[in-house]
């Protein structure tokens, strides 16, 4: 039937089809498949970095605390702080009377994943790295509480400016001199001291009541200095740079319960149990796949079909339906629980807008009126619907041990209307149009619409909604180019100052342009109050002032987080608001129903 030429045509067709098929197959097999892990955990966002000095996002912190163990560890079971790789806080690792000197004795059994002992110098190395210009990032300011750091950094920054002026041909020599002097100054002036191989001393400039809480943060994690140092580059500009490849698997060692065995970009990470971890005997799960699933619907299908054991977040459109199912037939494996964060609106407090026009919101009565005119319970019940507690405060109630908490301004439309009239705008007359800025993602628009409708109904205000793409929104906020803007804040450590500090006049995160010497003074005094409970009570006064009088913010609701996991299969899952579970505490039962 086919002639010679037909066969030639056929082979030509095959010449096109076959390489395509072979290519597709070959490319799909480029990366070798890993054996199945004991536990598969999924998060919706990808890991930005595993460098503890640079970490600032929850997903990164969450992973870093599995790999590294600091002096103190956030206790996922009941809040507060527990001992990490230093001996329990009684005994040798104690603060002295005035609580400005801390000495930590590193456990004898604390080892890196290659068997090396964890040494005080590993902390000195990692901390210096985390505060040096060049490698320092978001949380570097935590170190400024330590004696000598502020002066050392000021000197370093001045030197960096000086080096920039040095002619290029002499710069290398000048930089080399600068670096050796920097080493000496750091050793001499900065009070992060390795007294011996195992004893670390830290001296603070003033008592910091929450210093142990602070120490649980990622910037205070140790690094295996002998391997990480190889990636260091002391630049001629005076800046410290690192080849970030040191974070990749196989480059360094870990002192946490797990070590990084594999990391595939945008796919996931493989953690294996660290055999040298001092508590290795109690670590039950041998290997973990930490998978990234960007799409919440897909994540849910993966969970339902058994490809994932534990979803660390579930931001799907149908989440409220899953959460809302209460009663005997509910999905017992979808859990909504309070998180350590608050959703609020910033109110621009600057006397004038960027275009020079007077800002009606500079009057605190107007801010109070707006706050009281928003029915936050309705927003939680009708829009967010994941069991979020309506907020009148900045700090989520009940998340900080012993903190009394306060009551902010509740919804009261009549009182709000009266206040607005007092401020000279009866029923909103005389008020210009108020703009409300938000980023377009994740339902912020719906909340903004509800708020705008409430302000119109209760106060007669005209509100213009400005939904922007995330980066433009962020830029507008930082330039204070808004009247009201969406905001949120998650606490970094278990202390009220972690929230209250953002409204200090000099805070880089004070998007409200709120500068109130009275508040700063109150906060400084409260922070230094003697006595644990007295101090927390004084901080509560600060918060009360913020959410009842000053109102640079409109609290809307406190966040909840949603986990999906089968409690009959996974035990030891912490529902702590900090969202920092320790995998070494989790155990896997036989496959549950």
């Amino acid at each position: 039937m086919w002639g010679i030429s037909d066969r030639r045509s056929l082979s030509r067709a095959a010449a096109i089809v076959m390489p395509l098929a072979a290519g597709a197959y070959g490319l799909s097999r480029l990366t070798p498949r890993l054996p199945a892990a004991d536990l598969r955990v999924a998060d919706a966002v990808s890991i930005a970095t595993l460098d503890p000095a640079q970490i600032s996002w929850l997903q990164d912190i969450r992973l870093a605390i599995q790999l590294y163990e600091g002096l103190c560890v956030d206790d996922p079971s009941g809040g507060g702080v527990m001992a990490g790789c230093a001996d329990p806080v009684t005994g040798a690792s104690q603060a002295n009377e005035s609580a400005t000197t801390y000495r930590f004795r590193i456990r004898d059994q604390a080892r890196w994943s290659n068997g090396d002992p964890v040494e005080a110098d590993d902390f000195v190395f990692a901390w210096r790295r985390a505060l040096e210009p060049g490698t320092a990032r978001d949380y570097a300011y935590f170190f400024e509480k330590i004696v000598g750091v502020a002066d050392y950094l000021a000197w370093r920054k001045a030197e960096i400016s000086r080096l920039a002026e040095v002619p290029p041909e002499d710069r290398a020599t000048a930089a080399a001199r600068h670096w050796s002097e920097a080493d000496e100054r750091f050793r001499r002036d900065v009070r992060i001291v390795a007294e011996d191989a195992r004893m670390l001393r830290i001296e603070l400039t003033r008592p910091v009541a929450y210093f142990r809480e602070l120490l649980t943060g990622p910037v205070f994690l140790p690094l295996h200095r002998h391997t990480v140092r190889d990636y260091e580059r002391r630049d001629a500009s005076g800046l410290l740079f690192y080849d970030s490849r040191w974070c990749k698997p196989g480059r360094t060692h870990y002192n946490g319960a797990y070590l990084l065995a594999d990391w595939r970009f945008k796919r996931g990470l493989r953690l294996n149990k660290n055999p040298h971890y001092h508590g290795a005997a109690g670590v039950q799960i041998g290997s973990i796949d930490w998978i990234e699933v960007a799409d919440a619907n897909t994540a849910w299908i993966m969970y339902e079909t058994g490809s994932i054991d534990w979803l660390l977040s579930l931001e799907a459109g149908f989440t409220p339906e899953l959460v809302g199912r209460e009663g005997p037939s509910l999905r017992h494996d979808v859990r909504a629980f309070p998180a350590f964060g608050t959703y609020f609106y910033n109110i621009n407090c600057a006397p004038r807008m960027p275009d020079g026009s007077p800002n009606p919101l500079a009057d605190r009565r107007v801010r109070q009126a707006i706050t009281m005119a928003i029915d936050r319970a309705a927003i939680c019940a009708e829009i967010t619907r994941r069991g979020e507690p309506p907020a009148t405060t900045l700090i989520p109630p009940g998340t900080i041990a012993d903190y009394p908490g306060v009551d902010g301004l509740a919804f009261d439309a009549e009182a709000a209307s009266r206040l607005l009239a007092e401020a000279g705008f009866p029923r909103g007359r005389g008020l210009p149009e108020i703009s409300l800025l938000y980023n377009n993602e994740a339902g912020h628009g719906l909340i903004a619409q509800a708020v705008a409708a409430m302000l119109k109904a209760h106060l007669g205000m005209r509100v213009r909604l400005i939904g922007k793409e995330a980066q433009s929104y962020r830029e507008d906020k930082q330039r204070h180019n808004f009247m009201i803007a969406r905001a949120s804040w998650y606490g970094d450590y278990d202390d009220p100052t972690s929230f209250l500090d953002i409204f200090r006049a000099d805070s880089g995160n004070n998007d409200s342009a709120y500068a109130d010497p009275e508040f700063d003074r109150m906060l400084n005094a409260a922070d230094l109050t003697q006595g644990h409970l007295e101090r927390l009570a004084a901080l509560a006064d600060c918060e009360r002032y913020l959410v009842r009088d000053a109102l640079p913010l409109i609290p809307l609701f406190h966040y909840t987080n949603v986990y999906a996991y089968n409690p009959r299969r996974l035990t030891g899952v912490s529902l702590s608001p900090r969202l920092l579970p320790l995998m070494r505490q989790v155990a896997l039962l036989e496959r549950g129903p």
Binding site: M1, A24, K157, R264, A294
Partner: protein, 309 residues
């Protein structure tokens, strides 16, 4: 022929430079600071300065030339969003995945598109034709995210034969490829049907039949080969588009491909990653178009002889 290819090959660097320049101008003129990341604390100005210096981004002029220099040396720069990964690593991780899916998709589109198109052309106006053209209309008009979601739920939940969201076995290639294939399949089907229909009524087909050639030989040797030509020129851009990934399809099937970065790098203002992905995509596009030119010669000897003459 050779002449033409050489001329086209020489245009490649000029085209790419133009694309780089236009993209660069857009990248630096959109609002948003690449060093201030959403969800992160405010970066102190001194640190931002240090980072800009480190990445050679002090000003747009140095950034333009230094990045161009790095690209010419085969270094696509650093991602500002993913500190531990260079752009080259990110692309090296994503491109094979997208390329595998894209190749499979093009294969599916080519085989089924041509087949259905030929069948439709042979049975013009009859039921087979109607079915085939309906497939074409459906394929073109159904958005990929609908097809992807239907395939995901259909074969993971309704009929649980394939695992959801994994990228471990060649089977995982199947559904993303089908989802991506439908649009080009429909297009190829239409092209083939159209050109075959024209060819089938032409004189040389009548001559071939008159010679006593079998129906199959006529179609295979004469009609289909000519009918394929328009498809071929479409294949270059289609392959480049399919092989560089699709944001939606990759997201739904949780596939770690390159398409994600096209969208996310822009949202994150990850400037070097935007430039890197655009450069990779445009290079592929230009190269595939060149390959199509070469393939023309393979399928249609007339082009070859013209070049040689």
């Amino acid at each position: 022929m050779l002449n033409r290819i050489t001329r086209r090959a020489l245009q490649v660097p000029i085209v790419l430079l133009a694309i780089y320049t236009v993209t660069f101008v857009m990248v630096v003129s959109v609002p948003g600071n690449p060093f201030q990341r959403e969800g992160s604390r405010a970066l102190p100005p001194m640190l931002e300065q240090a980072l800009r210096q480190r990445y050679g981004m002090e000003n747009n002029w140095t950034f333009y030339w230094r990045y161009l220099g790095r690209v010419l040396q085969g270094d696509l720069g650093e991602s500002l969003q993913y500190d531990n990964w260079s752009c080259s690593e990110i692309i090296a991780a994503g491109l094979p995945v997208s390329a595998a899916i894209g190749l499979a998709a093009i294969l599916i589109a080519l085989v089924f598109g041509t087949l259905l198109g030929a069948i439709a052309a042979l049975h013009r106006g009859r039921l087979v034709d109607l079915v085939a053209t309906s497939i074409a209309v459906l394929g073109v008009s159904t958005p990929a995210f609908v097809i992807a979601a239907v395939l995901l739920i259909g074969f993971s939940v309704t009929v649980p034969v394939l695992s959801a969201g994994t990228w471990d076995s060649p089977l995982d290639l199947l559904r993303p490829a089908v989802a991506l294939a439908l649009a080009p399949l429909a297009y190829i089907l239409r092209l083939t049907r159209q050109s075959m229909a024209e060819v089938l009524v032409s004189d040389f087909i009548r001559t071939a039949r008159a010679k006593g050639l079998s129906q199959a030989a006529v179609i295979w040797r004469h009609a289909l080969r000519n009918g394929l030509l328009p498809t071929l020129s479409y294949l270059g851009p289609a392959a480049a588009a399919a092989m560089t990934g699709s944001f939606i399809v990759e997201r739904v099937f949780n596939v770690p491909g390159l398409g994600t970065h096209f969208v996310n790098s822009v949202l994150n203002r990850d400037q070097m990653l935007i430039l890197a992905t655009v450069l990779v995509y445009s290079t592929m596009l230009v190269v595939f178009n060149l390959l199509v030119d070469l393939a023309y010669g393979l399928i249609d000897p007339r082009i070859q002889s013209k070049g040689a003459a």
